[in-house]
Symmetry: none
Subunit: 429 residues, 2 copies
Amino acid sequence: MKRAAVMTIGDEILSGRVLDTNGAAIASRLRSLGFEVTYHLTCADSVEEIVRSLRFCAERADAVVTTGGLGPTEDDVTHEAVASFAGVGLELHGAILDQIRVRFESRGLHMPASNERSAKLPAGGEVIANDHGTAPGCALAVGDLLVVSLPGVPRELLPMLEEGVVPLLRARFELGGVTRIRVLKTFGLTESRLGMIVERLPRPTGTLHVGYRPTFPEIHLALTAAGRDDDDVARVLDEFEATLRTALPTQIWGGEGDSFASVIGAALAARQWRLATAESCTGGLVAKLVTDAAGSSGWFERGYTTYSNESKVALLGVPADVLAPDGPGAVSERCAAAMADGARRAAGVDVAISTTGVAGPSGGSLAKPVGTVWVGLATPTETTARAYRFPGERGWVRTLAAYAALERLRRLLLGLAEHEPFAAREDRR
Amino acid sequence: MKRAAVMTIGDEILSGRVLDTNGAAIASRLRSLGFEVTYHLTCADSVEEIVRSLRFCAERADAVVTTGGLGPTEDDVTHEAVASFAGVGLELHGAILDQIRVRFESRGLHMPASNERSAKLPAGGEVIANDHGTAPGCALAVGDLLVVSLPGVPRELLPMLEEGVVPLLRARFELGGVTRIRVLKTFGLTESRLGMIVERLPRPTGTLHVGYRPTFPEIHLALTAAGRDDDDVARVLDEFEATLRTALPTQIWGGEGDSFASVIGAALAARQWRLATAESCTGGLVAKLVTDAAGSSGWFERGYTTYSNESKVALLGVPADVLAPDGPGAVSERCAAAMADGARRAAGVDVAISTTGVAGPSGGSLAKPVGTVWVGLATPTETTARAYRFPGERGWVRTLAAYAALERLRRLLLGLAEHEPFAAREDRR
C-alpha cells in the first residue's frame, strides 16, 4: 500500500485561530485513492520548519501533499522550502505570471509586483493549474518521493486536488481501478444519531467508505467506493444509497449540486407555486437562503423582513391586539400564523413561511427563553404555526429557525409528515 | 518564549473521517499562555508512530500536549507510547480504577475489564483528573520536556485543559511576560494590496507579528505582540495600530468583537437614525447581515426583498416606466434610486439602502454582464445610486453587493468619501 502524508502550512492554522478543514479533505481523498495516510503535520510559514517537516514525513510517505503558503505575501514560502528540500532552485514561469496579470487586468486592476512570488516554482516541478485563484500548485519529484504543493483556500484547493492531483497520483503510482464519491445530504438528525443509524446498516460487498461532512445545520454523507470499473463501483454505491434512503426516508433531501432551497424550489416549480417569506428573528436569512439558488426568481416572489412591530402590522396585517402589551406578543403562535397568512395574501402567492422568535443574546424570559421560535406556514387551504426551542447562540438559533421554516415547506410539498422539533447536533468526533 | 507542540492521535482523524477540533483548541490556549506553537502533528494509534512523533516534536518544544488514545480499546496506546518514549514502565493506579468502576456501577453497569488500560499510566506521571469521562490524563516530565496526555473527546478534554493542564503549565514554566493579540478588521483592498501596504510600514521596536485572516470579503489583521508586561505590549500594539490607521484611514472599520453591521449600527444609533433595506439581487442578505448584530432592532426597522418587478412597484413605488420593456429596467440607476427612496418613505425611516443587479449565473447581457450591480442610498437630503462590476460566481457577487451597500452607508455616516468601486480580493489563506 502506498503511503501519503499531508502538511498544512500556516501560522493562522498553527496558532489555532483558523480551523484546518483542508487536511481532512486531502487525507480523505488520498485514502479513497488507496493511500495509507501516515501523518498530518501543521507547521509554521518558515522555510526551516517546512523543510524539517518534509524530511520527517518523507520517511513514511511516497507522496506528501502540502496546503498553504503559496500566496503573494512575504510569509508565503512553501515553494522556496520545497525547492530547498529538493536541493533545486526556483524558476519564474512567465506564462503563470501572465495569467495572474490577466486575472488582475480583467478586473481593471494592476497586478502588484508581489504576485511574482506565486509564479516562482521549484525547478523541474509540474504546474497544477488553479482555475479559481491566482496561485498555481506544483508537483515535484524528489527521488522516489512526490511533493505536491497546493494553495490553502478550500475553494481553490478542492478542485485542484480532484482535477490536477488525483490524475497525477493515479499515473505516477499506477493506482488501478476507479474511485467514486457520492454525496447524500441530510438534515434533522444530530451527527451522533446519524452515525449510530448509518453504522448499523448492512454494507454491500466491496470497498465502501462513509464520511460525515457536517456543514451546520446540514450533515452530508460522502460515500466513497472503489472497484475494478465504473459498473462495479456504481453497484456498491446504488446498493448502499438504497439502504440509506430506506433507513432515512425523510432526512435525506438531496445530493451533490443540490441546496436545501434548490430542492424546495424544484418542488414549488413542479406545482407552479410561488413563495413569499415573512421574517422577524431570522431577519432576511430565509430569503437569502432561498435566493442563493440560481433561478429562484422562477418561484420566489418577495420577502418581508418585518423586524419592528409596526412593520408586522403595516406590511403583513398582523392584528394590533396580538402585539398589544396584554396580547400574546410577537413571539407567539398567533403572530407567526398572521405573518405567514399576511405575506401570502399581500404577495398574492400560493404559499408563505414565517419566523418569529427570540434569537438572543438578550430578550429572553422565563416563558420565552432565548431559542424560542415560532414558524408559520400558510397554504391555499390552511395556516398553521409550530413552536421550537433551539440551543446555542444567536447565529445558531437564527440558522436553525430558517431551516425549520424551509423544512416545514419541504415536507408539505413532498407530502411528508411534519418533522419532530429537532435539537442541534451535539459535538462528537 | 517557551515552545509547545500539539499531537492528535487517532486513525479516525488521520484518515480525514473526523475533523479535528481539539488541536486548534489546545493550540489556541497554549498560545494565549505565551507559548509559541511549533507543530500540530496527527499520527496513527501506533506505539512506534507516537514515539517517532514525540521525538520529532520534542526537538522544538518545551511541552507536548497530546489528545486521543486514552480509551479502553486495544488501539488506545498513548500511555504505552509515552512510557516507551520516556523509558519508563506503566503503573496501575488502583484509585483510578476504583473511580472508573464507580462510574460504571452508578449507571447500573459492570465495568469491562478492558478499562484497566485507562488506569495504567507512565510511571512517575502526574494524574490529570477527568470529571466528564472515564480516562484520566497524565503529565510526565521527560528531562526538560513535559508531555501531557489528554483524551480525545472534546467534552472531556476542554475542562481538563483549563482546570488541570493550564495551572500545571503556569507553575512548571513560570510563565512570565504576556502575549496579546489585537485584531483590526478591513474591507475594500485585495489581500496582496493590503499586504504590500502593511509590509512597507515602519514597525515599532519590540516583538510584533502581523497575520492576515481573510474572511471574505473582509480581511482581518491580527497583531500579536509579546513583551515583559501589559504596558510593554500595549505600547507596541498602540504604536503599530496608529501607523496602520494612518496608512489605511478608510479601510480599517473595526476590531475584535465588531461586525461590519454592528459598527454601522453604532453610527446609526449615534445619529438616532433608523434603517430600512430594499434588496433585489442580494435577496435578503443585507438584512441578514444587519440583523446578525445583536441589538439591531434598536436601529433596523424593516427590509424589503423585492425580487419580482411587481413587488418593486407595489412595495417601493418604483415607477412602472422604469421596468417597462423600453425602460432602463430593474438593473439601473433609476431603479436602485427609486428602491432606496421608496423604502425610506414606506418604512418611515431616515435612511435606506438598495441593491439591484445581475448575480448570475444567467441573466447577463452585453450591456449588463453578470456582476453588474447598482447600489442605492437614500438619506433625508438626497438619493443617489452607484454602479459596480463584481467578479466571481453568484455567491461572490451577492456578498460583494451586500457589502458595497453597507459600505456606502458606513462612509456616509462617518463622513468619509465614497469608496472606489473595488474588486474582490484574490484568494489565499
